[in-house]
């Protein structure tokens, strides 16, 4: 298996699995995101200011 082929498979897995992982992460976050939901107050740890 050449370096090009390995690079291709690594990228295809990153793209496919990465998208699914990010989407699941988004779904977990969703209930706290929607308008009207209780949100955590921002803190200095959020990097503001």
């Amino acid at each position: 298996m050449s370096g090009w082929e390995i690079f291709t498979w690594v990228n295809a897995w990153i793209l496919g699995c990465g998208a699914v992982i990010v989407f699941v992460w988004f779904l977990i976050d969703l209930p706290g995101l929607l308008p009207g939901a209780e949100r955590k107050p921002r803190t200095s740890e959020d990097g503001e200011g």
């Binding site: 298996m1 050449s2 090009w4 082929e5 690079f7 291709t8 498979w9 990228n11 295809a12 897995w13 990153i14 793209l15 496919g16 990465g18 998208a19 699914v20 990010v22 989407f23 992460w25 988004f26 977990i28 976050d29 995101l33 929607l34 308008p35 009207g36 949100r39 921002r42 740890e45 959020d46 990097g47 503001e48 200011g49």
Partner: protein, 502 residues
């Protein structure tokens, strides 16, 4: 951004779609409108409608950044370059932009969050006053008009669904308009997340199916010329620099800024951009390899050898993907462009409401007034974009013009205002933005009206005879004159300001 525009030449290669594929496409389109309808009455104030209550966290920022910034231009443009030139599509064209995303993640986003802005023109107002804000809002509005996306929908509808282009523009663009009008940025961000999943997963799945068609990866080495695997191909250094320079737009992109303003915190933006760079890289590489697979398939006769290079990815997918999966692919392609169109329409609407209507016509506008004005602005931008897409033949030239306006009007005053406090002089910002805007209009008019359209270059070329020499000025070169003119205007403004103050 540009290569999709030749897609018109491939409209005769319509795709066969089965009932299962149609069902998937119909479910997708209905789902998008439903999201907008569900979020229609949930906006507490203007921040909620335009910036999703500034509550976006890392995962939704990743999905909305990736799906907005990558449209069918990348899908078909990068695969076109890979089809004709190979891996240079990734190394020479895509890779340099990741550097600008890194700069945006660590430098620009931090500064923007620190100042707590709502829109890009508001930055100009704070540093230079209302006049510069108006010029900036006009430039941002013009840049955000969805003409190119609607034109793309017309072509896709004709190619994929067999609809007349105007019907495709109206129906597919109308779906994106409907959920953007009703649901605002919440609907845009939530639909972006579904669209992100579809566009990424279907592309990843295409790799094994594509390899199956061409007979494995080794087949690429057997059939493609060695230069297909040369990282810089036969591109000149100057052209690589020119490609890299296009990444500069990231630093002043209105939809990108909107997502920074809508984030819950700077850390969320930074983390989303870092994760996004990895996914952008994987997406670009996969598009590149599918383009090269298509070239191999064309040589083998598995797809039409005479196919237009920018249609190669589509042809490869239709050959490789089984029934049902093809429906997901088509929905994924529509999703790719819908996620771009909705975001630009909303930014244009915000420019009308928050940056022009409120400061000029109604300073005491309530949140309800602003939401109403934003919706009208969204509608206005869609209608103008539709008229442009239906009227102009040279959409590539139009896009170059719109991108030039953004860069020439905003790059200098925005970056100097953000990072050099001594430069925050009203006259400097005003002269810079006005000179950038007017010189862009003037130089583009000279090139388009005084030059000729050259098919091989896919652009307008103006022949300049000067001091015994003859030079070809492409429309894309306008920025090489207008951005320096904007910088010169800024320096002039600073000098006048200094003299006035004694």
């Amino acid at each position: 951004m540009l290569a999709l525009l030749a897609l018109g030449g491939i409209a005769d290669s319509m795709v066969e779609i089965g009932i299962l594929d149609w069902s998937i496409i119909a479910i997708y389109l209905t789902g998008m409108v439903t999201v907008g309808a569900l979020l229609a009455r949930r906006h507490a104030d203007f921040d909620d409608f335009f910036l999703a209550g500034r509550a976006l966290t890392t995962p939704i920022l990743i999905t909305t950044l990736i799906s907005t910034y990558y449209g069918i231009d990348v899908l078909f443009g990068s695969s076109q370059l890979a089809y004709t030139d190979g891996v240079v599509a990734w190394f020479g064209y895509a890779r340099p932009t990741y550097l600008f995303f890194l700069i945006a993640a660590f430098v620009v986003a931090r500064r923007l969050r620190h100042e707590d802005f709502r829109s890009l023109p508001e930055i100009l107002e704070r540093y230079y006053g209302g006049g510069t804000r108006n010029v900036g809002a006009l430039a941002s509005f013009l840049y955000s008009l969805p003409a190119l996306s609607l034109y793309g929908f017309g072509l896709l509808a004709e190619l994929l669904l067999g609809w007349p282009p105007l019907v495709g523009m109206a129906v597919l663009g109308g779906v994106a308009l409907a959920y953007t009008l009703t649901g605002g940025f919440w609907a845009v961000a939530l639909t972006d997340s579904i669209q992100f999943l579809m566009m990424c997963v279907i592309l990843a799945i295409a790799v094994p199916y594509g390899l199956q068609v061409v007979g494995g990866f080794d087949s690429l080495f057997e059939h493609l010329e060695p230069y297909y695997f040369d990282q810089m191909g036969d591109l000149s250094v100057l052209l690589v620099i020119a490609y890299a320079a296009t990444g500069l737009t990231v630093l002043i992109e209105p939809t990108f800024y909107q997502r920074i303003f809508a984030a819950r915190s700077y850390h969320n933006v930074r983390n989303a951009l870092l994760a996004g760079i990895v996914l952008w890289g994987a997406y670009d590489w996969t598009v590149t390899i599918v383009g090269m697979m298509a070239r191999t398939a064309a040589i083998q006769g598995a797809i039409d050898p005479g196919i237009a290079p920018d249609a190669s990815l589509m042809a490869m997918m239709t050959v490789a993907l089984p029934a049902g999966m093809l429906g997901f692919f088509i929905a994924g392609v529509l999703a790719t462009e819908m996620s771009t169109l909705d975001s630009y329409c909303l930014v244009a609407g915000g420019n009308v409401a928050y940056d022009l209507y409120k400061p000029i016509l109604k300073p005491d506008a309530s949140d309800a007034d602003l939401i109403r004005a934003t919706r009208l602005g969204v509608l206005l931008s869609w209608v103008i974009g539709f008229a442009m897409a239906a009227s102009f033949d040279q959409m590539l030239g139009l896009w170059v013009f719109m991108a030039s306006i953004l860069m020439s009007t905003l790059l200098v005053p925005i970056l100097l205002g953000l990072y050099v406090p001594a430069c925050r002089r009203p006259l400097a910002g005003l002269i810079s933005s006005v000179s950038g805007l007017t010189s862009t209009a003037l130089i583009n008019a000279i090139i388009v009206l005084g030059g000729r359209y050259v098919d091989e270059e896919e652009t307008f070329v103006f022949q300049l005879d000067l001091w015994g020499g003859s030079y070809e000025i492409l429309q894309e070169y306008a920025m090489f004159f207008t951005v320096p003119l904007s910088a010169l205007g800024f320096v002039l403004g600073l000098a006048i300001d200094r003299r006035r103050r004694g």
